[in-house]
């Protein structure tokens, strides 16, 4: 009898906290999104127009959010995979130092890191001169462009990509790679037929951990972008905290969550249930 009650006692406080301050607030977010009226006298009236208005007014910000987040996720994957591979297979005694370097950015405040990029990408900086020389910075400008926002997103969420990929590569049985080579597969073939599929759980986890926070972010667009680079997070933040248009902001928040949920489900379906199962087993 005691054993049957024990888990509920252990689980109780945490589950209650998450239910009360995560699940219940989502209900209130939904309720607020169906309010109508002006600030100070909002009323619950099943005002579904908030949703159609939100989508019509801010469709470009939605598209931009998912586009920027998608590109940032892609770039993060391209940067993170070689790094995770190096740490897992090539680093030797440097492994811990490199792992430390990956998490080091977390030890400086997110906002300050982003502001540091504002310095690095400002018009006078040597980085921009080099990019300009390479023809990558039209008119010698990087700051206040889409490129700067995507670069900032890529940088800020890169560790979330590196760590899961590293974890799945590290668990990988090196003998499988050697077997591929013994069977006369070229290095490229071995990589695409053996290493990459076996690290798929890490890639799936990493892309989700990068894409989800990136699509809701507003810090990078605020500091590195211009008025033309505003993402949906910027709109929600401004409607809530500056204009006090709570119903519209709540509707946008709800749509954002729903869209992300749909994208994630489609992605997991597409990426295959194997990858997901692998992730479940790892977690």
């Amino acid at each position: 009898m005691r054993r049957r009650v024990a888990p509920y006692f252990l689980l109780g406080p945490g589950a209650a906290w998450l239910f009360l301050f995560f699940v219940v607030p989502l209900y209130y977010l939904g309720e607020l999104s169906l309010n109508s009226g002006v600030f100070g006298s909002y009323e619950f009236t099943w005002h579904w127009e908030n949703y159609s208005d939100a989508l019509q007014l801010y469709d470009s910000q939605f598209v931009r959010s998912f586009l920027y987040a998608g590109l940032a996720t892609l770039f993060a994957l391209l940067l993170a995979y070689p790094l995770a591979y190096t740490i897992a297979f090539k680093a030797g005694r440097w492994r811990n130092l490199l792992l430390f370097a990956v998490v080091a950015p977390f030890f400086t405040t997110y906002l300050i890191r982003t502001l540091a990029w504002e310095t690095i990408l400002s018009d006078q900086s040597p980085v921009v001169s080099v990019l300009d020389f390479l023809g990558l910075a039209p008119e010698g400008h990087v700051l206040a462009t889409a490129g700067a926002v995507i670069a900032g997103l890529t940088y800020n969420f890169l560790p979330f990509m590196v760590l899961p990929i590293y974890a799945s590569l590290e668990r990988l049985d090196v003998r499988l790679i050697e077997a591929g080579k013994d069977l006369y597969a070229s290095a490229t073939q071995t990589f695409f037929r053996v290493t990459l599929p076996l690290s798929a759980p890490g890639v799936v986890a990493g892309t989700l951990l990068t894409f989800i926070p990136a699509s809701g972010d507003y810090v990078n667009a605020q500091f590195l972008g211009s008025a033309n680079n505003q993402m949906i997070g910027n709109v929600i933040q401004s409607l809530y905290l500056k204009q006090s248009d709570y119903p519209a902001a709540a509707a946008l928040s709800f749509v954002l969550m729903a869209l992300i949920l749909i994208l994630v489900l489609v992605y997991i379906r597409f990426a295959g249930s194997e990858a997901l199962m692998g992730e479940e087993a790892a977690g």
Partner: protein, 291 residues
Amino acid sequence: MSGGGSNVWRWLREHAVSIVGVLVVLYMLIPIVVIFAFSFNDPAGRYNFTWVGFTFSHWSNAFGIPELNEALVTSLKLAVLATVISTVVGTLMALALVRHEFFGRRAANFLIVIPMATPEVVMGSALLSFFLLIGTFSLGFQTLLIAHVMFCISFVVVVVRSRLIGFDRNLEEAAKDLGASGFETFRLVTLPLIMPGIFGAAMLAFALSIDDFVISNFNSGTTVTFPLYIFGAAQRGIPVEVNVIAMILFFFTVATMGFATWQQRRAEKMASVRPDQEAGVGMPAGTPAAT
């Protein structure tokens, strides 16, 4: 000459992946170097964006801005409280999930995963809607604490759970065979063995809390934390002291991590003596078996 060139080319090709890897590491560290360098800058105006000249004055004046100090103290208090609460509550949840089969386990797992898969802006705005509509909480330190504990719990559970999964339950059986009560077994065997996991989880919770901007931005009322101070100051020019404090926090965290790793290695070395000595196996892990 062409032979030398092709050697270089071969070396580059063989080490291409590592070279890219090292370049990515450098890319990750650039902003930290910039933050450090600009903490010695002597900006001409209010904006610390272009290099003017070298000075130590901001390091010697690190704690000379009252509002910044206040924000820092608020952040530290908030982080300590959120860490303690979320670590205790999250560890208990992890124990329930790993050690027990019970009705509602899948639902509990789902409840833990879903906050990690929700963008912060949604969590922040949902909590603000909740606080606004029910009206029992006034926005400020207490709503910040509620929010921080909420988003830390999931991460604590995941970290502690991974430690519990690799746990050798024979050690607990042995303690019970030697007459330890259930609570004694937990305190003297289980807890010390999962301590590194709990400590790691606590550090993660602390880092998440002290760094949180988005959710705090929504639920702070007029309370100012360190990230909120930076956000507010960004419009009118951020004082160089912010860089100094950011670097102090950085070095402090690195030192703590270094110390923790060193302690853990020492503990593992001590523990590794045990399997050789048959008699030591059942001893509580808190007491070194070698003595």
